[in-house]
Structure formats: structure tokens, C-alpha cells
Subunit: 215 residues, 2 copies
Amino acid sequence: MIVRKKDSNSLVHDEVYKKLRDNILYGFLRPGDVLTLRGLASEFSTSVMPVRESVRRLWSEGALKLSVSGRISIPTLNSDKFNELIRLRKIIETELAVKAMPRAHKALIDRLELINGKMEFFAKSREASLYIGANMEFHRTLYLRAQSPVMLSILETVWLQLSPTIRFGLSENWNLLDKNEHDYILKALKKKDSEDLSILIDKDVSICENLFLLF
Amino acid sequence: MIVRKKDSNSLVHDEVYKKLRDNILYGFLRPGDVLTLRGLASEFSTSVMPVRESVRRLWSEGALKLSVSGRISIPTLNSDKFNELIRLRKIIETELAVKAMPRAHKALIDRLELINGKMEFFAKSREASLYIGANMEFHRTLYLRAQSPVMLSILETVWLQLSPTIRFGLSENWNLLDKNEHDYILKALKKKDSEDLSILIDKDVSICENLFLLF
DNA sequence: GAATTTTATATGTGATCACAAAAAAAAATT
DNA sequence: AATTTTTTTTTGTGATCACATATAAAATTC
């Protein structure tokens, strides 16, 4: 029997995908963690089919690792891969920020300031997944203005690959977040200084570089 | 019954994925073409299951479009999306080329020259899918030296999204390929001039921009 | 004859099953 | 006690089925 949410066209495999993705994105799964189709299926109270489809999807996004025998786990990044992903963040995010800048009017900057305040609060209170969520929301809100859906979705797969590693690097390095680059980013946005903006986005991403831990 | 290739650990869904991907990549499917699970299953003489998994995978790579009701088709690009993909090619390919350059020794350049000759032949003989294949091989061979697997795989999904549109733009614009930028790229590689190399890669990708046709 | 309704077919989704192969657990051996 | 072998359990894959719904075809109405 096909189970659909009432009065909605959402599909089970898509719901499972979103839940699983968010668990990875907000740091509820650590690198190396092992998952099983049947385990996930019973956790999300469904059959294995929708889980299979969402696992296949997350795997092709680099968010999950499949062993040669198909065993599912959260990837552990070596430093080469980590640096590559950081470099990708820098390239794509500076591109998106510069493209968004001309369309970043007062209303948007106000919203960014609000999100930024929220993020600073979560940094102080050491709430990792809320901090990560607010940080991503800040960047995402800005980049959405670039109106470059393909780039944004690629960036999101990059985030997805970095998240578990950064999340657990964070637990032991909260002090790294003491100074908040976002304030300077907002200033550059107000001044419409794209040169500065590029450099600052690059710098902001650089902070993450120090969160790398070997597992 | 599970059907595996003898003495090999290749899986059916992976084989189906590769075949379907190559059909898209080498231009055997045009934008708008409609596919069905059962149709593909019988074409590849398998059941729908492996096809479902590979279609889901190609869809998440942007190579296939799924309608709200799940109907499968080859995406048609509007000019915004096309330009975004071209921009992505430029950003990622210049990055990879520059990173590959220090490791591009004589043996590699010799191989690139060989591939380039092949490509020029297929351009003259107007064999579109062979031309596309040789062109991709040229770029891929160079970029492999950058040893950046994540970037390369992202680039490949970008190619996958552009392929069908470019392929059928090509049929009516062979003349655009008269002058071959690859020769200059090879010169820059020999001179180890990364400044020049960036510009030339950018230029080479630009040629594709003119192959955009509305369907 | 064109537009609308009805019927029939095709298609994607989710559930379930069998099976091979990989892990894990248990038993036997050294 | 540690290692090897055997047995059991777990797990992913591929096949098949039922079903809802979207699309196509046929019939009906105006």
C-alpha cells in the first residue's frame, strides 16, 4: 500500500531522504558510524524500499559511504579530501557571494544580522547543531540571492560532506569561533565592496580548516 | 536470483548506471526525450529494481529530470541554467588545470597531443559523439593530474548536465570548432605559464557557449 | 467536427520475498 | 588463553506484486 501524507504529494523516499540528510547535516551522526537499511527503515517506520532510494541518493552526493559489499557508513575524511572540500567551499562561496551582492538590499542584510545574532548566541552556549544550523542559514540566505540554483545545490553537497567532520571538530575547539567574521562580511555587503567580500568569505571558510580532526 | 558478472564484483544497478550515463554523455539522448523504468529494464534485460536505483542516482546528479508524477526525461536547459553550468565549468576547470600543471610532464603532454589529434579528426569528419568523447578525454586526462577526485566528480556531473544540449547544438554549428584552443593550452602547459593556462581554459569553454540552442 | 467525458493502458512507488555474501557469534582446536 | 574453524545471524541486492495515479485512447455529447 502506498503511504502518502494526506493532501500532499510528498513521497516516502523523499521524506526519509530529508530526515537522514538533516541528521548528517546537523551533526547527529559521526564519521565512521554504521547504518543499515532495515535499521533506518524501522527507525522511520517504513519498508526498506524508500530507504534504499534515499541512501543511494545520499551516497551519490558523497554524504554516505558504501563499502564494496554495500555496507553503509558515514565517511571519514582524510586531510586531502578535507582540504579539497574546503577549497571548493571557497571557490563556490566567493562566486555566489559576489553574484548576490548587487541584489543584497537592506531587508536582506537585516535578516542576515538577525541570523548572525542567533548564531553568536549558540556559539556562546556551545550548542553545536544549533550553531551549525544558524551558520549555514546565514550563508544560504545570502547565496540564495545569487539565483544560481545549480551552484547552490552543489555547495550543499559540499557542506553535507564536511558536516560530520566539522561537527566533531567543533566540540573540542569552540574557542576558534571567538571572533565572528560575519560582522565584517555584513560591513562589506553594506559598502558593496566585492573585493573585500571575496577575501572575507575566504577567511570565514578558513576558520573551518582548523576544525579538522583525524578519527 | 542475483545476477552478477562472473568473477567480478560489479553490480547490475551500477552497470545500468554506466550504460545510461554514457548514453547521455555521448549524446544518444536528446533534451526532452522520455524514458520509462520498464522500457529501460527490458532494454538492459533486467528488472526494474536496478534501473530505479540508477535513475535515482542520475537524477540526483542533474542528468535526468523527474516530473512531479515521477516521469523520467532528459532535461531541457534554459539559458540561465546553461550559463550557470558554463560558469561552473570555467571555475572548476581553471582550478583543476592550474593544479595539474606542475605535475604535467612530457609523457602526459604527449598523450594529450595524441588525444587532441584524434579530436581534430572527429571534428573534421563530423562525428559528434566521437568528437565529444575525445574532447572530454583531453580535459579529463589533464585534470586527473590535479589529484582532486571530489572536484573532478563534480565537474563530471556538470558535463553530464550540459552534454545533451551541447550535442545537438553541435550538429548545426560544426564551423564553430574550426580553430582548436587545445593547441594553445598545450603550449601554455609546456611553458608552465599558469596565468595563460587559466585564460585559455576559460576561452576553450567559452566556445561551448555558442552551442546553446533553444528547443 | 471539436470538446468533453469515460474507459483503458502505462507507469512510478512501496512492500515483500529469496538469496548470496559478509559479519558476528559460537564451538573446536591448538 | 589464543587462534582457527564452523555455525548462525545480519545485511544488501534483485525480482515480483499490488496499487494509485498519470497518460493515452475511445466513446459520447454538443
